[in-house]
Every structure is written in C-alpha cells, then in structure tokens.
C-alpha cells in the first residue's frame, strides 16, 4: 500500500473511531476500548505511512476529480506535512488511551459517546487538513476540525454554564477565522485560477500581502496569536483534559501549519511580513506567559502558556520569513527548523502537562492551585513527570524545549551580521524563558511541594497505568528530542527545502548550529547528575540524617495555610506586568477594633476578552434592539414600507443610470 493510501486509511480509522461506540451501550466501556484500538491502529498506520513517504519511492500524492463546482480531491505528503503529521498521529492516540481512565464511558454515560465521536473526528480532520492540497478540501477539513473540537470541548455543556460560555466564545472566534480563510481562498482562486495549493509564481505584491494578512488573521485565530487568543483559555480550561491536550498540543499547530503552508505557496514577500510575525510572536509570548503567572486555575495557566509557546513558534517563522526576504538561507533554516522542532516539542510537553493536570483534577476534584499542595508525597509518579514537563517547557537543558529555542537563538544572533535590530527578539525570548521558569516553579511548588493547603488532596493517589503510561511515553519523548535533537535535523532540513527552494545546496543545520554539542552537554549533565546522586547515596549512608518539621524561622505552630500560595508567589511579577495584565484585587476592608472576617481576592482577567470584546458585545446587544421599533406590528406601516422601497429603489436606480 502506498504511503498516501496508508495515511488516508489512517485518517478514516481515526475519524470514524467513535462510530462503533454509538451502536454499543452507553454504560459499557466496550465502545471506548474499540475506539482506542482503532485510533491506535490508525496512529501506527499513519506514522508508518509518513515514514515511507519520507523514504521516497512510494506514492505520496493523490489527485482525483471531485463532484463539487470547483476543486479536486487532492492530497499530498511532503516533508513539511510530515513534520505536522507526526504529532497528529501520536498525541491523539495517547490521549484516547489516557481517556480510558480519565473519561471512562461508564462514568460518563450521557456524554461519553458524543465525546468519542467528536474526538475521533477531530484527530482525523486534523490529519486531513495537513495533507490537503486543494483549497476547498482544506476548508472543509478545517471546519470539520473546528466543529469537532467544539463538540469535544463542550462535552460537559449540559452541566456547566461556564463550559457553554467558553464553547460559544470559541465558536465565534473560530468562525471569524474561517470567514477570513474563505476570503483568503476566494482571493487565491480568483488570482491563480484554481484552488490547487501549488506555489504561485507570479502575484502582485498587494494581492500577496492581502492573502498573507487574511491568512495571518484566519490562522492566527486558531493558533491563538494575541489578540486573537480570546477563546483559548476558556476552551482549554473547560474541556476534558485529554481534549485540552489535543487542542493545545496539536490543534493550535494547525493554525501554525496554515501560516507555514500559505507562506510557502506565496512568492517571496517583503520584509514586513517577517517583521510583523516576529513582533506579534514576541508580544504573544511575553504577554501569554505573563498572563499564565497570574492564573489560579491550573488549566487556564497551561492554556496561557500554550499561547506563549505559539508566540515562540511565530517568532521562529518570522525569522524565517525575514531570512527569505533578505535571501539569508541560514536564517530561514534556523528559524524554520527551530519553529518546526518547537511544534513537536510543544506537542510533547504540553500534552504531558495537560494529562498531568487531568490526573491532578481527577485526584483533587478542583482546578484551584491554591487549594492544593504537597501532592508529591501522594502522587510521586505524577510529581516526577510534571517536573520533567516543567523543565522541558521552560526550555531548560537538557530537555527538548531548549533544543528548539536554541536553534532560534542562534538564528537571531546570526541576524546580527546584517543590521541586527531583529536580534532584539532574542531578548524577548530570554524574558519569556525567565518568566516561564517563574511560572512553572510556581505551579510545581504550589501543587506538588510543601504541605496540603486544603483537604482537597486527602484522597489523592497516582492514577492507573492507562493514565500514567502516556505521560511516561511523552516524558521519554521530551528527553529523547532534548538530548538527541540531531535526529530530527534531516527531516527539518527537507521541510525547509519544501518551504522555500533554497538556492544551491541546503546548508546543514549541523554546520550552522552544532547540535551534537547539545548532545554532548546533555549527556555530560546527565552523567554528572548520576555521579552526584551516587555521591549523595554514599554520603547519606555515612551520615546521620535526622528529620523534623520545617524550621520556619523558629515559628512555633506553622500551619499549611501560612505557606506561600501560587498567587502570592507570582504577585510581584503580576505587579511588574500590571500594565498589560490589569489585575483586579479585592482587599478585605478591615474596620473597627474587632474587624469582621473578610477575604482577599485577586484575579487576572483576560484584558482583551473581558475588558474589550465582552463589553463591546454587550453594548451592541444593548443598543441594536432599539431599532426594533421599526417593526411594531401595524399593517399600515408595513404597507408604507412597500411604497417607500418602490420610491427608494427607483431613485437609487435613477442615480446609477
């Protein structure tokens, strides 16, 4: 079977994996097991298909006529698509295995099947989006993906008004995006004469610019570039955790893929394309992680950190675009390779973290981090896995986040040789890194370390293997990519080749940025840690180790409530970034000798959504209905309208003639 057929079969398997469950009882987990099995088969088949397609020789594209007014059923797998297909085929499968324990059908009889169906559709349609080579097909797959994600994310819609609201916001946002894409593809068609997604050789710069901007908005809505991110935190927070994992880990990347693909098809553009993307990425990254620090809800926090990572990826793309505009092959290679590798990495550690958050919520039945604490003792596995994910997402060596950001850094530093203002982005990236450390130390410390702050975690425990397993796999992925990034280099180079036909021989990534040294340092780090651990073992055997309560500066009766909470941990930083975050604080009013009990509360609402979009909608909703007095039921008035429009139309026509 040729690779394209393998992938198509895989897509069908993924897409329809939920269907059998609909026929089975909603109280038995059989349907869910079948779905997981189908997805696993599909995933394996898909990965194999992608592999063979890269191997070459096998059929990688297919184009048959299609009975629509326009467009063909055209699909194709190039290296660029392959990069994105890998997470699409891996993460959802892990997610559905995780779901066996996390969202088992017998425990959710009324929405389990719906979730199963939409989850499968989501996975399948994402793969189809990536391989589509025809605008119409792309749009259809795209919208199916968006809607499937909606139904998957609002699985609890009947119980929870927040879920409904978040879903509605998502639906509007994604629809705006889709409309922009409609305009974009319509324009593309009227310019190139067909929906075929083949490189456009000649195109007037205005049209190309328009297409780029429309694409940036349309795909940016999905990717969550600021200020188009408004839907993201709510949707991710209220979705089932494995759905959040897939949405954040994979679906956001479809937006990135869109931008990558459309820029690959457009002719080489002016420098401002790259500049805009770089700037937007930097803003998105910094603001995203700053918002994350301000959150109390662990899943909202992770969602904002997804926004941050999307920003980082966008910066890489921006660098690549700039390089392309300036004819700097090295910048293109490093920028794009860094971005694409980060796409992988983010899908690895972000799904790991969302799975982990799911396990925490499963154990504590709350998303409020400030009610948690000390879980590391009860959930050692999850604690360790979370630590891995946290280190990885902070882009710290020796894990994978560092590898991809390092490529971008090298690219940005190399841009110094010409001009250099662009390299400012490196500072933004560094700031993002430091903030990320603050953010995830906060989460790790608040959730897993210290003493329990409430009884929420009293019955916490490490979840069963079906939930731990996927996390372990992902953690290993993080380590593998982190220590041996050069494994990915060839694919990334080919992808870059697909994105832009670099004149002359492709500069090897190794030549520009010696990834092998990352491996060396990584291994030596691991080695030293190993040595240190051995030393510690020996030392601790020869020493007397006493245990006691935390000293706490001699305070006699420390209670768990005295611990630094997550919000107090981030307070100073939130204060520093108040100019973008606009945090709200509700101080307790302490009056009189014996003050009444009251509480301090601090929230960081989303500035764009809660201070701009929602008020705007309220305003429209308040004033638009005023116009309804035009239709108050008097037949006389209605007849008058008829007469009036006759006159108006005649005038309007007369003016025209």
């Amino acid at each position: 079977m040729s690779s394209v057929w393998m992938v198509l079969t895989a897509i069908c398997l993924l897409g329809l994996s939920g269907a059998p469950g609909c026929l089975l009882s909603c109280r038995s987990s059989a349907g869910q097991r079948v779905a997981t099995l189908l997805m696993a088969i599909g995933g394996v088949l898909g990965v194999v298909g992608v592999g063979t397609s890269l191997g070459g020789g096998s059929e990688t594209s297919l184009s048959v006529p299609w009975f629509l007014p326009w467009g063909r059923f055209a699909v194709g797998i190039d290296a660029l698509a392959a990069v994105f297909l890998v997470p699409v085929f891996i993460v959802p499968v892990l997610g559905s295995i995780y779901g066996l324990g996390y969202w088992s059908q017998p425990e959710h009889p009324d929405n389990g099947r719906r979730l199963g169906v939409s989850y499968g559709l989501l996975a399948g349609s994402m793969a189809l989006v990536v391989i589509a080579r025809d605008g119409a097909l792309f749009l259809i797959a795209w919208e199916v993906m968006a809607l499937a994600a909606y139904f998957a994310a609002t699985a609890e819609e009947h119980e929870n008004a927040d879920v409904r609201r978040a879903g509605w916001v998502y639906l509007i946002a994604t629809h705006i995006g889709t409309l922009c894409l409609l305009a974009m593809f319509a324009l593309w068609r009227s310019e190139t004469g067909s929906f075929a997604l083949a490189p456009a050789l000649v195109m007037s710069s205005e049209v190309a610019g328009t297409i780029f901007v429309l694409g940036l908005i349309g795909f940016g809505c999905k990717a969550g570039l600021m200020p188009l991110h408004v839907w993201l935190p709510g949707a991710h927070a209220n979705a089932p955790s494995h759905v959040s994992a897939v949405m954040s880990g994979v679906m956001l990347k479809m937006g990135i893929y869109g931008i990558v693909r459309i820029t690959a098809l457009l002719p080489v553009g002016p420098t401002w394309w790259g500049g805009v993307l770089l700037a937007v990425g930097a803003v998105t990254g910094v603001a995203g992680i700053a918002y994350a620090i301000g959150q109390h809800d662990i899943k909202r926090l992770l969602a904002y950190s997804s926004i941050e990572n999307v920003g980082i990826i966008a910066m890489g793309l921006g660098l690549a675009l700039l390089g392309r505009a300036q004819g700097r092959g090295d910048l293109v290679l490093l920028g794009l390779a860094g971005a694409l590798l980060h796409v992988w990495n983010h899908s690895l550690f972000k799904s790991l973290l969302f799975f982990n958050a799911g396990a925490i919520i499963h154990a504590t039945h709350t998303r409020e981090m400030d009610r948690m604490g000390g879980l590391a003792k009860r959930m050692p596995w999850c604690a360790a896995l979370f630590a891995v994910g946290a280190v990885a997402i902070c882009a710290l060596p020796p894990l994978n986040g560092f590898a991809s950001e390092w490529l971008m850094y090298v690219g940005l530093f190399r841009s110094l040789s010409s001009g250099g203002e662009v390299a400012m982005a490196a500072v933004a990236l560094a700031t993002i890194g430091a903030l990320a450390v603050a953010c995830f130390v906060q989460v790790l410390g608040t959730v897993y370390l210290g003493e329990p702050r409430s009884d929420a975690g009293d019955h916490a425990y490490d979840p069963q293997a079906s939930m731990i397993g996927p996390m372990v796999v992902l953690a290993c992925g993080c380590a593998a990519v982190g220590v041996f990034p050069m494994m990915a280099a060839p694919l990334l180079e080919r992808a870059t080749q697909d994105w832009m036909d670099l004149s002359g021989p492709v500069p090897a990534i190794e030549a520009l940025a010696p990834l092998r040294w990352i491996t060396v340092m990584g291994l030596s780090f691991v080695g030293l840690i190993g040595a240190a651990v051995l030393a510690w073992k020996m030392l601790s055997r020869s020493r007397t180790i006493g245990t006691t309560g935390t000293w706490d500066c001699g305070y006699a009766q420390p209670t768990a409530r005295m611990q630094y909470t997550g919000s107090s941990f981030g307070d100073t930083l939130v204060g520093l970034f108040a100019f973008i975050l606009w945090p709200k604080k509700y101080w307790p009013e302490v009056r009189g000798v014996l003050a009444r009990r009251s509480r301090f509360r601090s929230v960081v609402p989303d500035a764009i959504l809660d201070r701009l979009v929602v008020p705007a909608f309220d305003l429209v909703g308040k004033y638009l209905p005023r116009l309804r007095m035009l239709q108050q039921g008097q037949t006389q008035v209605y007849v008058l309208y008829v007469l009036a429009i006759v006159i108006v139309l005649y005038m309007w026509g007369a003016i025209g003639a």
Partner: protein, 478 residues
C-alpha cells in the same frame, strides 16, 4: 405532462375536500406528492424544451430546478404532515390538506408557465391558497398573521401586476406586437423601451420580492412563520419563496438580456445587502426561534438577490443556493416544529436542552443551524462559497467583504438563540410532555439533512448538469 403535473394535485385537492375522514385525509398528501415527484422525474427525463399550450407552458432549466426542489421538499413534508396532523386530531384538517395540495398544483404551474400574466395569476393564487395554512391554529395571533400576510402580500403582488403591465407596455412602446410571452420578450429584449423596463423591474422586484420576503417587504414573514405549523413554515421557506424567486428570475433574465445588467445589479446588490442587514438586526437577541428562522429566510433571500446582483460568475452558486437553502430550511422548520410541540413554547426562555429532551430533533436542529450558516461540510457552504468566489471573480471586493461581515453577524445572532435552545438541561416541566420523535415526524428530517450533507460533499451529476444548463440558459443574449 404539464397538465398532468398541474391538474393531478388540484384534482386530489378536490378529493381531499370531499373525503370525510379526518384520519385518512392526510394520507392523500404523501400519495399525491409521491406520484407528483415521480411525474416530475419523468418530465425531467425528457430533455426537449418545446412548450405545450402555444408556448405558454414550457419547462425550461430554471423551472426544472425549482420544480424538482419543491416537489422533493413537498413529498418529505407531506409524510411529516401526516405525523403532525396525527397529533392534531382535535382539529379538522380538510382545509389544510386541500390548500396544501392545490399549492402543489399551482407551484407546478408557476414553474411551467412561460407567460408572465399566467405566472402572475399562479403566484397570486398561491398567496390565496397558502393563507388558510397560516390560519390553521385558529388563534388570535394566527388570524393576525394571516391578515398581515394577505394585506402585505396582496399589495406586493398587485405591484407585480403593475410591473408586468409596464413590461408589456415597454414592448408595445418599442413598436413591437405587445406580448407577455416570456420567449417573445426575451427575443426582443434589446429593443424594449428602457424607461418602462426600469420601472417594470423596480415594481416586479418589489412585487415578487414581497413574496420572497426581501426586506423591507419581509414584515409578514416572521409573523406568518412564527404562527404557522412547522411544516407550513418549511413549505413557505423552501417552496413559496423558491417559486417567487423563479418568477423574479424570469424578469431578471429579460432585463439582463436587454443589456440592463448594470441597472439590475445595482438594485439587487442594494436589496440583497439590505435584507441581510435587516435579518441580522432582528436575529440578534431573538428569543423566539421560529421567528428567528423567518429572519434567516429573509437573510437567504437576500443572499439570492445578492448572487443575482453579482451576476455571471455567481449565478451557479445562486441557483445551487436555491436548492440547498430550500432543503436546509426544511430541516430547520420541521425540527423546530417538533421542539415547539414537545415544549409547548417557541421561546428560549422555556426551551432549553432540546438535545436531551428530543435527541433526534434537537441534534438535527443544531446541525441545520450549522448548515444554514454556511459551515462545511454542508450544502449551503458550497453555494455561499461559490457566490463569494463569484464576487471575487467579478472584482466586487467591497460587496464580498460586506457579505462575509453580515454572515458573521447572522452566525452570532442565530447561534446564541439556537445554542440556548439545544444546550443545557431541559426544565423539569417538559420532561414528560406527550410528544416524542416518531417515525413520521423524524425520518423526513433525517432524509433532508442527509441530502444537505450530500450536497456539501458531492453534487450529483444530473443536478450539476441542470445547474450548468440554467446558467447557460440565463446567459443567452439574443
């Protein structure tokens, strides 16, 4: 064939009036509809356009599309109607069935007639026979709705008659043998006297636009659709409007053939965008989901006008949109009817969690909403996207932008209402109301939805051929 198609339903209508049993009578509807559909298919089989009755009755490509659409829709609705009337045994359905059947006959007449006078008569008569359908519930509101429908509709139709006369006079003034025969007018289109033609176009646009429900002549629509049973709403939004559109299409055809496409598109774009805007205005914060559907119908009539206004490149999409909109409206109105029946209310204040109260109808209502707002992979997406492409090909970027903007408004306005109705928990009061989805009231909707989905993924060859024929037909220039 023509006479069979037109007279058979009328005969059956007579029969329906005669049949005494309230329980058996409804079954005449599916019976007639099925036979009618079969006849239609046969009629479509024979390709020749040679007319009968001295060229008064010709089945030309646009007529074929509308005939097929309405006949199909009517058949599915007729099965639904049996189920519906089964729930309404307390009330005599003699008038109801008679009017429905005679509407079928008149509709066939509209799609066949090639004489503008005759066509006008047919349309006017449909107005008269459909009025009692709105009045089925015999409530004060339904009388009011009927009254408004009759007054506004008749005034509009009267203007259409005036316009028709103007059209005839334009040929007379040009020194031709005055005639209202479509083919003659088409043949001599270029010679027609322009001032009369313009005036005629305005009057006919307003006249038949009233029947289509273009704003601001749409005022009867929310009342009528809101008070009439769901099945009537479906037949109105899918059938009556399509007939009116066909009637207007003839006029449009003549004017474009006369080389007045600049004038027509100017007016049509105005009407189209205005209708969509009005629809958005009244959809936002709409609590009554049946009225909301009425405004959605206004919006889609606007889209049709817009498509004609853009002209050439958008014609295919416009004609396709007639079909997809008709079928989707069927889905929406029928499922809305079921929800209304189950909850005893059509206000979202009471209607919540329809998906849980009526898993089938609720889901179909939601799917219908997604379809009608132009989400892939449903039919309306294809047609609306085709119209958009047409706008871009015609270089009307501003129009395209406004079109998309208004579509967004419609999505937001409609979505808020629909999601409120289908999501959440149903109030305990309606948990055990008598109505539950039965075969007759659910299966037709499922079939319609299947068609809508099919048209979104694959347009059957014959339909494509019909559409292309129509486009070619509309572009004949004498």
């Amino acid at each position: 064939m023509a006479f069979a198609l037109i007279l058979f339903p009328l005969l059956m209508a007579g029969l329906a009036a005669a049949v005494p049993s309230n329980r058996l009578r409804p079954w005449l509807l599916p019976l007639t509809a099925t036979v009618h559909l079969a006849l239609v298919v046969m009629a479509l089989g024979q390709a020749d356009l040679t007319g009968t009755a001295g060229g008064w009755l010709v089945l030309d490509p646009p007529g074929r599309i509308v005939l097929l659409l309405v006949s199909t829709l009517f058949m599915l609705c007729s099965f639904y109607a049996v189920g519906y009337l089964g729930h309404r045994q307390e009330r005599s359905n003699r008038v109801f069935c008679t009017c429905l059947l005679s509407f079928l006959g008149l509709m066939s007449l509209v799609s066949w007639s090639h004489h503008l006078g005759l066509m006008w008569v047919a349309i006017e008569t449909t107005t008269l026979v459909t009025a009692p359908l709105i009045y089925f519930n015999r409530t004060q509101q339904s009388i009011e709705a009927t009254w408004k429908y009759l007054v506004v509709g008749s005034v509009g139709i009267a203007l259409a008659l005036l316009g028709t006369f103007f059209l005839a006079y334009s040929s007379l003034h040009a020194g031709l043998e005055p005639s209202l025969n479509f083919d003659d007018l088409l043949k001599h289109a270029p010679e027609l006297s322009k001032p009369w033609l313009h005036a005629a176009f305005v009057l006919l646009l307003v006249g038949y636009g009233t029947k289509m429900g273009l704003a601001p002549m749409h005022t009867w629509k929310p009342d009528a659709y809101g008070e009439a049973p769901g099945v009537v709403g479906a037949i109105f939004a899918g059938g009556v409007t399509s007939c009116a559109f066909l009637a207007f299409l003839r006029v449009y055809h003549i004017c474009t053939a006369a080389g007045e496409s600049a004038y027509t598109s100017r007016l049509l774009l105005f009407m189209g965008l205005f209708s969509m805007a009005v629809a958005v205005l009244f959809m936002v914060g709409q609590r009554d989901f049946k009225r909301m559907l009425a405004y959605s119908s206004v919006e889609h009539m606007g889209i049709l006008a817009l498509g004609l206004g853009i002209g050439g490149p958008a014609l295919y999409g416009t004609l396709l949109h007639v079909v997809t909109n008709g079928l989707t409206k069927g889905v929406l109105f029928l499922s809305a009817g079921n929800i209304h029946r189950a909850y005893g209310s059509k206000s979202t204040d009471l209607v919540r969690g329809a998906i849980r109260r009526l898993p089938l109808s609720g889901t179909l209502f939601l799917a219908g909403f997604l379809a009608i707002t132009g989400s892939p992979p449903f039919g309306p997406f294809i047609s609306e996207f085709a119209i958009l492409n047409g706008a871009f090909d015609a270089g009307r970027f501003l129009v395209a932008g406004l079109f998309l903007l208004l579509l967004l408004g419609v999505f937001i306005g409609m979505g808020a209402t629909v999601l409120q109705a289908v999501q959440g928990r149903p109030p305990s009061a309606v948990r055990n109301t008598p109505y539950h989805d039965g075969w007759l009231t659910a299966a037709p909707i499922v079939i319609l939805m299947a068609m809508v989905l099919l048209l979104g993924l694959y347009i059957p060859g014959p339909l494509t051929a019909m559409l292309n024929d129509t486009v070619r037909f509309l572009e004949v220039r004498p």
